[in-house]
Protein backbone atom coordinates (compact mmCIF):
# COMPACT_ATOMS: atom_id res chain seq x y z
CA UNK A 1 0.00 0.00 0.00
CA UNK A 2 1.35 3.41 -0.93
CA UNK A 3 -0.09 6.02 1.37
CA UNK A 4 1.01 8.79 -0.97
CA UNK A 5 -1.69 7.66 -3.45
CA UNK A 6 -4.12 8.86 -0.81
CA UNK A 7 -2.38 12.03 0.35
CA UNK A 8 -1.53 13.43 -3.10
CA UNK A 9 -5.21 14.23 -3.79
CA UNK A 10 -5.50 16.46 -0.74
CA UNK A 11 -3.00 19.20 -1.65
CA UNK A 12 -0.48 18.54 -4.43
CA UNK A 13 -2.97 17.05 -6.88
CA UNK A 14 -6.10 18.55 -5.37
CA UNK A 15 -8.74 18.00 -8.09
CA UNK A 16 -10.21 21.51 -7.97
CA UNK A 17 -7.34 23.77 -6.88
CA UNK A 18 -4.44 21.67 -8.22
CA UNK A 19 -5.63 19.80 -11.32
CA UNK A 20 -8.36 22.41 -11.95
CA UNK A 21 -10.94 19.77 -12.88
CA UNK A 22 -14.66 19.56 -12.12
CA UNK A 23 -15.12 23.33 -12.12
CA UNK A 24 -18.68 23.27 -13.47
CA UNK A 25 -20.27 21.57 -10.42
CA UNK A 26 -17.86 23.45 -8.15
CA UNK A 27 -19.01 26.85 -9.42
CA UNK A 28 -22.66 25.81 -9.49
CA UNK A 29 -23.15 24.37 -6.02
CA UNK A 30 -20.78 26.32 -3.77
CA UNK A 31 -23.41 28.93 -2.94
CA UNK A 32 -24.01 27.33 0.48
CA UNK A 33 -21.97 25.14 2.84
CA UNK A 34 -25.00 22.84 3.08
CA UNK A 35 -24.85 22.17 -0.69
CA UNK A 36 -21.13 21.46 -0.50
CA UNK A 37 -21.70 18.87 2.24
CA UNK A 38 -24.33 17.08 0.14
CA UNK A 39 -22.16 17.22 -2.95
CA UNK A 40 -19.12 15.88 -1.05
CA UNK A 41 -21.04 12.83 0.15
CA UNK A 42 -22.56 12.06 -3.25
CA UNK A 43 -19.23 12.62 -5.01
CA UNK A 44 -17.25 10.34 -2.69
CA UNK A 45 -19.81 7.60 -3.12
CA UNK A 46 -19.80 7.78 -6.91
CA UNK A 47 -16.08 8.25 -7.61
CA UNK A 48 -14.94 5.46 -5.25
CA UNK A 49 -17.43 2.84 -6.41
CA UNK A 50 -17.39 3.60 -10.14
CA UNK A 51 -13.59 3.68 -10.28
CA UNK A 52 -13.31 0.42 -8.33
CA UNK A 53 -15.67 -1.06 -10.91
CA UNK A 54 -13.48 0.22 -13.76
CA UNK A 55 -10.31 -1.03 -12.07
CA UNK A 56 -11.91 -4.48 -11.78
CA UNK A 57 -13.05 -4.49 -15.42
CA UNK A 58 -9.89 -2.91 -16.92
CA UNK A 59 -8.60 -6.18 -18.40
CA UNK A 60 -11.70 -6.51 -20.57
CA UNK A 61 -11.80 -2.94 -21.91
CA UNK A 62 -9.97 -2.46 -25.27
CA UNK A 63 -7.82 0.68 -25.43
CA UNK A 64 -9.55 2.12 -28.51
CA UNK A 65 -12.97 2.33 -26.90
CA UNK A 66 -11.98 2.89 -23.27
CA UNK A 67 -13.42 6.42 -22.90
CA UNK A 68 -16.93 5.60 -24.23
CA UNK A 69 -16.90 2.44 -22.11
CA UNK A 70 -15.97 4.41 -18.96
CA UNK A 71 -18.73 6.91 -19.66
CA UNK A 72 -21.35 4.18 -20.17
CA UNK A 73 -20.29 2.51 -16.91
CA UNK A 74 -20.16 5.73 -14.84
CA UNK A 75 -23.40 7.23 -16.20
CA UNK A 76 -25.39 4.00 -15.89
CA UNK A 77 -24.06 3.34 -12.40
CA UNK A 78 -24.99 6.84 -11.20
CA UNK A 79 -28.46 6.60 -12.75
CA UNK A 80 -29.11 3.23 -11.09
CA UNK A 81 -27.98 4.56 -7.71
CA UNK A 82 -30.18 7.64 -8.17
CA UNK A 83 -33.27 5.53 -8.93
CA UNK A 84 -32.61 3.25 -5.95
CA UNK A 85 -32.17 6.16 -3.51
CA UNK A 86 -35.26 7.93 -4.90
CA UNK A 87 -37.37 4.81 -4.46
CA UNK A 88 -36.02 3.44 -1.19
CA UNK A 89 -34.87 6.50 0.76
CA UNK A 90 -36.84 9.59 -0.28
CA UNK A 91 -35.43 11.69 2.58
CA UNK A 92 -31.84 11.00 1.49
CA UNK A 93 -32.89 11.72 -2.09
CA UNK A 94 -34.21 15.10 -1.00
CA UNK A 95 -30.72 16.00 0.26
CA UNK A 96 -28.54 14.39 -2.44
CA UNK A 97 -30.90 13.90 -5.38
CA UNK A 98 -30.00 17.02 -7.31
CA UNK A 99 -26.25 16.37 -6.98
CA UNK A 100 -26.15 12.88 -8.45
CA UNK A 101 -26.93 13.82 -12.09
CA UNK A 102 -24.32 16.60 -11.82
CA UNK A 103 -21.65 14.05 -10.87
CA UNK A 104 -22.27 11.96 -13.99
CA UNK A 105 -20.64 14.72 -16.01
CA UNK A 106 -18.03 15.58 -13.39
CA UNK A 107 -14.76 15.21 -15.26
CA UNK A 108 -12.82 14.29 -12.09
CA UNK A 109 -14.58 10.91 -12.10
CA UNK A 110 -13.68 10.24 -15.74
CA UNK A 111 -10.25 11.82 -15.24
CA UNK A 112 -9.33 9.38 -12.46
CA UNK A 113 -10.72 6.47 -14.48
CA UNK A 114 -8.50 7.38 -17.41
CA UNK A 115 -5.38 8.43 -15.49
CA UNK A 116 -5.46 5.92 -12.65
CA UNK A 117 -8.13 3.25 -12.26
CA UNK A 118 -7.66 1.84 -15.77
CA UNK A 119 -3.95 1.16 -15.12
CA UNK A 120 -3.60 0.41 -11.41
CA UNK A 121 -4.72 -2.34 -9.03
CA UNK A 122 -7.95 -2.10 -7.06
CA UNK A 123 -6.28 -1.32 -3.70
CA UNK A 124 -4.38 1.69 -5.11
CA UNK A 125 -7.52 2.87 -6.90
CA UNK A 126 -9.35 2.86 -3.57
CA UNK A 127 -6.63 5.05 -1.98
CA UNK A 128 -6.48 7.38 -5.00
CA UNK A 129 -10.24 7.99 -5.18
CA UNK A 130 -10.56 8.42 -1.40
CA UNK A 131 -7.78 11.03 -1.51
CA UNK A 132 -9.43 12.80 -4.45
CA UNK A 133 -12.72 12.81 -2.52
CA UNK A 134 -11.11 14.42 0.52
CA UNK A 135 -9.39 16.99 -1.71
CA UNK A 136 -12.57 17.80 -3.63
CA UNK A 137 -14.66 18.02 -0.44
CA UNK A 138 -12.16 20.34 1.27
CA UNK A 139 -12.01 22.63 -1.78
CA UNK A 140 -15.75 23.02 -2.19
CA UNK A 141 -16.28 23.40 1.57
CA UNK A 142 -13.74 26.24 1.76
CA UNK A 143 -15.16 27.97 -1.37
CA UNK A 144 -18.78 27.65 -0.22
CA UNK A 145 -17.88 28.81 3.30
CA UNK A 146 -16.31 32.03 1.95
CA UNK A 147 -19.15 32.62 -0.54
CA UNK A 148 -21.97 32.04 1.95
CA UNK A 149 -20.26 34.05 4.69
CA UNK A 150 -19.62 37.13 2.53
CA UNK A 151 -22.72 36.70 0.35
CA UNK A 152 -25.33 36.27 3.09
CA UNK A 153 -23.40 37.39 6.19
CA UNK A 154 -24.04 34.12 8.03
CA UNK A 155 -23.63 30.35 7.75
CA UNK A 156 -26.74 28.19 8.04
CA UNK A 157 -26.40 24.40 7.78
CA UNK A 158 -29.55 22.23 7.78
CA UNK A 159 -31.51 24.91 9.62
CA UNK A 160 -28.86 25.47 12.31
CA UNK A 161 -27.18 28.86 12.37
CA UNK A 162 -23.49 27.96 12.67
CA UNK A 163 -22.26 31.54 12.38
CA UNK A 164 -24.82 34.27 13.19
CA UNK A 165 -25.23 37.35 11.02
CA UNK A 166 -21.94 39.25 11.24
CA UNK A 167 -22.32 41.49 8.18
CA UNK A 168 -25.07 44.10 8.12
CA UNK A 169 -24.98 44.48 4.33
CA UNK A 170 -23.59 41.29 2.74
CA UNK A 171 -22.27 41.34 -0.83
CA UNK A 172 -24.98 39.44 -2.73
CA UNK A 173 -22.62 39.11 -5.71
CA UNK A 174 -20.62 36.52 -3.79
CA UNK A 175 -23.41 33.93 -4.06
CA UNK A 176 -23.97 34.79 -7.73
CA UNK A 177 -21.69 33.30 -10.44
CA UNK A 178 -19.10 36.16 -10.39
CA UNK A 179 -18.48 35.49 -6.69
CA UNK A 180 -17.55 31.89 -7.50
CA UNK A 181 -14.91 33.00 -10.02
CA UNK A 182 -13.51 35.60 -7.61
CA UNK A 183 -13.10 33.15 -4.73
CA UNK A 184 -11.70 30.41 -6.99
CA UNK A 185 -9.23 32.83 -8.56
CA UNK A 186 -7.96 34.08 -5.22
CA UNK A 187 -7.59 30.55 -3.82
CA UNK A 188 -5.77 29.35 -6.96
CA UNK A 189 -3.40 32.31 -6.72
CA UNK A 190 -2.71 31.60 -3.04
CA UNK A 191 -2.02 27.92 -3.76
CA UNK A 192 0.44 28.90 -6.51
CA UNK A 193 2.08 31.54 -4.34
CA UNK A 194 2.59 29.05 -1.52
CA UNK A 195 4.01 26.61 -4.12
CA UNK A 196 1.68 23.89 -2.98
CA UNK A 197 0.74 22.92 -6.53
Amino acid sequence: MKLQEFTKGILRKNPVLGLVLGLCPTLAITTRVENALGMSLAFTFVIVLSNLLISLLKRFIPRDVRIPTFIVIIASFVTIVEMLIHGYSPSLYEQLGIFLPLITVNCIVLGRAEAFASKRPVSETLLDTLGMSVGFSLSILVISFLRELFGTGKIVVFGHQVIPGILSSPAVGMILPPGAFLVMGILLALMKKARVV
Binding site: T31, R32, N35, F60, I61, P62, R63, D64, V65, P68, T69, V72, I73, S76, T79, I80, M83, L84, H86, G87, Y88, P90, Y93, E94, E148, G151, T152, V172, I175, L176
Partner: protein, 172 residues
Amino acid sequence: MVGKEEVKPVAVLVITCLVWGALLGLTHSATEKRIEEAERAELYRTLSQIFPSAQFTEENGHYVCSENGVVVGYAVEVEERGYGGRMRVLVGMNPDGTVAGVRILSHGETPGLGAKVAEEDFLGQFRGKGLEGMALKKDGGEIEGVTGATISSRAVVRAVRSGLENLRGWAG
Protein backbone atom coordinates in the same frame (compact mmCIF):
# COMPACT_ATOMS: atom_id res chain seq x y z
CA MET B 1 -10.62 -8.71 -44.50
CA VAL B 2 -11.78 -7.55 -41.07
CA GLY B 3 -9.47 -8.96 -38.42
CA LYS B 4 -10.11 -9.94 -34.84
CA GLU B 5 -8.39 -6.78 -33.64
CA GLU B 6 -10.97 -4.56 -35.40
CA VAL B 7 -14.00 -6.48 -34.20
CA LYS B 8 -13.10 -6.74 -30.53
CA PRO B 9 -13.43 -3.07 -29.48
CA VAL B 10 -16.80 -2.78 -31.24
CA ALA B 11 -18.04 -6.00 -29.68
CA VAL B 12 -16.96 -4.94 -26.17
CA LEU B 13 -18.63 -1.54 -26.50
CA VAL B 14 -21.85 -3.06 -27.83
CA ILE B 15 -21.92 -5.65 -25.05
CA THR B 16 -21.19 -2.98 -22.40
CA CYS B 17 -24.07 -0.86 -23.67
CA LEU B 18 -26.45 -3.84 -23.80
CA VAL B 19 -25.58 -5.03 -20.28
CA TRP B 20 -25.86 -1.59 -18.69
CA GLY B 21 -28.97 -0.77 -20.70
CA ALA B 22 -30.60 -3.94 -19.38
CA LEU B 23 -29.53 -3.11 -15.80
CA LEU B 24 -30.99 0.38 -16.18
CA GLY B 25 -34.27 -1.03 -17.51
CA LEU B 26 -34.50 -3.55 -14.68
CA THR B 27 -33.81 -0.94 -11.99
CA HIS B 28 -36.33 1.41 -13.57
CA SER B 29 -39.14 -1.12 -13.56
CA ALA B 30 -38.23 -2.23 -10.03
CA THR B 31 -38.25 1.30 -8.58
CA GLU B 32 -40.87 3.06 -10.75
CA LYS B 33 -43.80 2.33 -8.39
CA ARG B 34 -41.86 3.22 -5.26
CA ILE B 35 -40.64 6.51 -6.75
CA GLU B 36 -44.21 7.45 -7.68
CA GLU B 37 -45.40 6.61 -4.15
CA ALA B 38 -42.55 8.60 -2.59
CA GLU B 39 -43.49 11.65 -4.67
CA ARG B 40 -47.15 11.30 -3.76
CA ALA B 41 -46.26 11.00 -0.05
CA GLU B 42 -44.16 14.15 -0.37
CA LEU B 43 -47.09 16.00 -1.99
CA TYR B 44 -49.48 14.89 0.77
CA ARG B 45 -46.98 16.00 3.43
CA THR B 46 -46.92 19.43 1.83
CA LEU B 47 -50.73 19.46 1.61
CA SER B 48 -50.96 18.79 5.36
CA GLN B 49 -48.82 21.87 5.97
CA ILE B 50 -51.66 23.91 4.44
CA PHE B 51 -54.55 21.85 5.84
CA PRO B 52 -53.07 20.29 9.03
CA SER B 53 -55.68 17.71 10.06
CA ALA B 54 -57.45 17.10 6.76
CA GLN B 55 -57.84 13.99 4.62
CA PHE B 56 -57.08 14.31 0.91
CA THR B 57 -58.72 12.82 -2.15
CA GLU B 58 -57.52 13.40 -5.67
CA GLU B 59 -59.93 14.23 -8.48
CA ASN B 60 -58.26 14.63 -11.88
CA GLY B 61 -55.38 16.78 -10.76
CA HIS B 62 -57.24 18.67 -8.03
CA TYR B 63 -57.17 17.78 -4.34
CA VAL B 64 -60.23 17.92 -2.11
CA CYS B 65 -59.34 18.37 1.55
CA SER B 66 -61.93 17.31 4.11
CA GLU B 67 -62.15 16.85 7.87
CA ASN B 68 -64.69 14.22 9.07
CA GLY B 69 -66.52 14.42 5.75
CA VAL B 70 -66.75 18.22 5.73
CA VAL B 71 -64.87 19.91 2.89
CA VAL B 72 -62.36 22.40 4.33
CA GLY B 73 -60.60 23.36 1.14
CA TYR B 74 -59.20 22.54 -2.28
CA ALA B 75 -55.71 22.49 -3.71
CA VAL B 76 -53.99 22.31 -7.09
CA GLU B 77 -50.42 22.15 -8.34
CA VAL B 78 -49.40 24.92 -10.74
CA GLU B 79 -46.30 25.17 -12.92
CA GLU B 80 -44.78 28.56 -13.58
CA ARG B 81 -41.55 29.86 -15.12
CA GLY B 82 -39.33 31.50 -12.51
CA TYR B 83 -35.92 33.13 -12.88
CA GLY B 84 -34.13 29.78 -12.72
CA GLY B 85 -36.54 27.65 -14.74
CA ARG B 86 -39.55 25.56 -13.81
CA MET B 87 -41.22 26.24 -10.49
CA ARG B 88 -43.91 23.95 -9.02
CA VAL B 89 -46.33 25.70 -6.68
CA LEU B 90 -49.05 24.12 -4.56
CA VAL B 91 -52.00 26.48 -4.05
CA GLY B 92 -54.62 25.76 -1.37
CA MET B 93 -58.03 27.48 -1.38
CA ASN B 94 -60.60 27.88 1.40
CA PRO B 95 -64.23 27.03 0.55
CA ASP B 96 -64.98 30.80 0.41
CA GLY B 97 -62.52 31.21 -2.49
CA THR B 98 -59.63 32.85 -0.59
CA VAL B 99 -56.09 31.48 -0.39
CA ALA B 100 -55.62 28.92 2.40
CA GLY B 101 -51.91 28.59 1.89
CA VAL B 102 -49.11 28.41 -0.68
CA ARG B 103 -46.12 26.05 -0.78
CA ILE B 104 -43.29 25.75 -3.31
CA LEU B 105 -42.77 22.07 -4.23
CA SER B 106 -39.62 22.65 -6.28
CA HIS B 107 -37.80 25.56 -7.84
CA GLY B 108 -34.46 26.56 -9.35
CA GLU B 109 -34.19 30.11 -8.00
CA THR B 110 -30.89 31.67 -6.87
CA PRO B 111 -29.96 30.48 -3.35
CA GLY B 112 -30.05 33.29 -0.80
CA LEU B 113 -31.90 35.56 -3.21
CA GLY B 114 -34.80 34.28 -5.32
CA ALA B 115 -34.97 31.13 -3.21
CA LYS B 116 -36.39 33.28 -0.40
CA VAL B 117 -39.78 33.16 -2.18
CA ALA B 118 -40.11 29.63 -0.75
CA GLU B 119 -39.95 30.97 2.81
CA GLU B 120 -42.90 31.70 5.07
CA ASP B 121 -42.10 35.45 5.27
CA PHE B 122 -43.08 35.78 1.64
CA LEU B 123 -45.63 32.98 1.20
CA GLY B 124 -47.54 33.89 4.40
CA GLN B 125 -48.70 37.12 2.74
CA PHE B 126 -51.03 35.23 0.42
CA ARG B 127 -53.09 33.64 3.19
CA GLY B 128 -56.68 34.90 3.30
CA LYS B 129 -56.33 36.91 0.08
CA GLY B 130 -58.69 36.79 -2.89
CA LEU B 131 -57.85 37.82 -6.44
CA GLU B 132 -58.13 41.54 -5.53
CA GLY B 133 -54.74 43.06 -4.76
CA MET B 134 -53.05 39.82 -5.81
CA ALA B 135 -49.97 41.52 -7.31
CA LEU B 136 -46.64 42.85 -6.11
CA LYS B 137 -46.68 46.29 -4.44
CA LYS B 138 -44.57 47.69 -7.28
CA ASP B 139 -47.23 46.39 -9.69
CA GLY B 140 -50.01 48.11 -7.72
CA GLY B 141 -50.99 45.16 -5.52
CA GLU B 142 -50.59 44.24 -1.86
CA ILE B 143 -47.83 41.62 -1.91
CA GLU B 144 -44.37 42.70 -0.72
CA GLY B 145 -41.89 41.11 -3.13
CA VAL B 146 -38.54 39.65 -2.03
CA THR B 147 -35.85 42.36 -2.36
CA GLY B 148 -33.70 41.83 -5.44
CA ALA B 149 -35.87 38.98 -6.68
CA THR B 150 -38.74 40.62 -8.55
CA ILE B 151 -38.87 38.00 -11.31
CA SER B 152 -39.07 35.13 -8.80
CA SER B 153 -41.69 36.97 -6.72
CA ARG B 154 -43.81 37.76 -9.80
CA ALA B 155 -43.67 34.12 -10.86
CA VAL B 156 -45.12 33.01 -7.52
CA VAL B 157 -47.86 35.66 -7.72
CA ARG B 158 -48.75 34.48 -11.24
CA ALA B 159 -48.85 30.88 -10.03
CA VAL B 160 -51.13 31.72 -7.09
CA ARG B 161 -53.46 33.75 -9.34
CA SER B 162 -53.80 31.00 -11.91
CA GLY B 163 -54.16 28.36 -9.20
CA LEU B 164 -56.91 30.31 -7.49
CA GLU B 165 -58.74 30.99 -10.77
CA ASN B 166 -58.43 27.32 -11.69
CA LEU B 167 -59.77 26.15 -8.30
CA ARG B 168 -62.65 28.64 -8.27
CA GLY B 169 -63.72 27.50 -11.72
CA TRP B 170 -63.39 23.85 -10.79
CA ALA B 171 -65.01 23.90 -7.32
CA GLY B 172 -67.77 26.18 -8.65
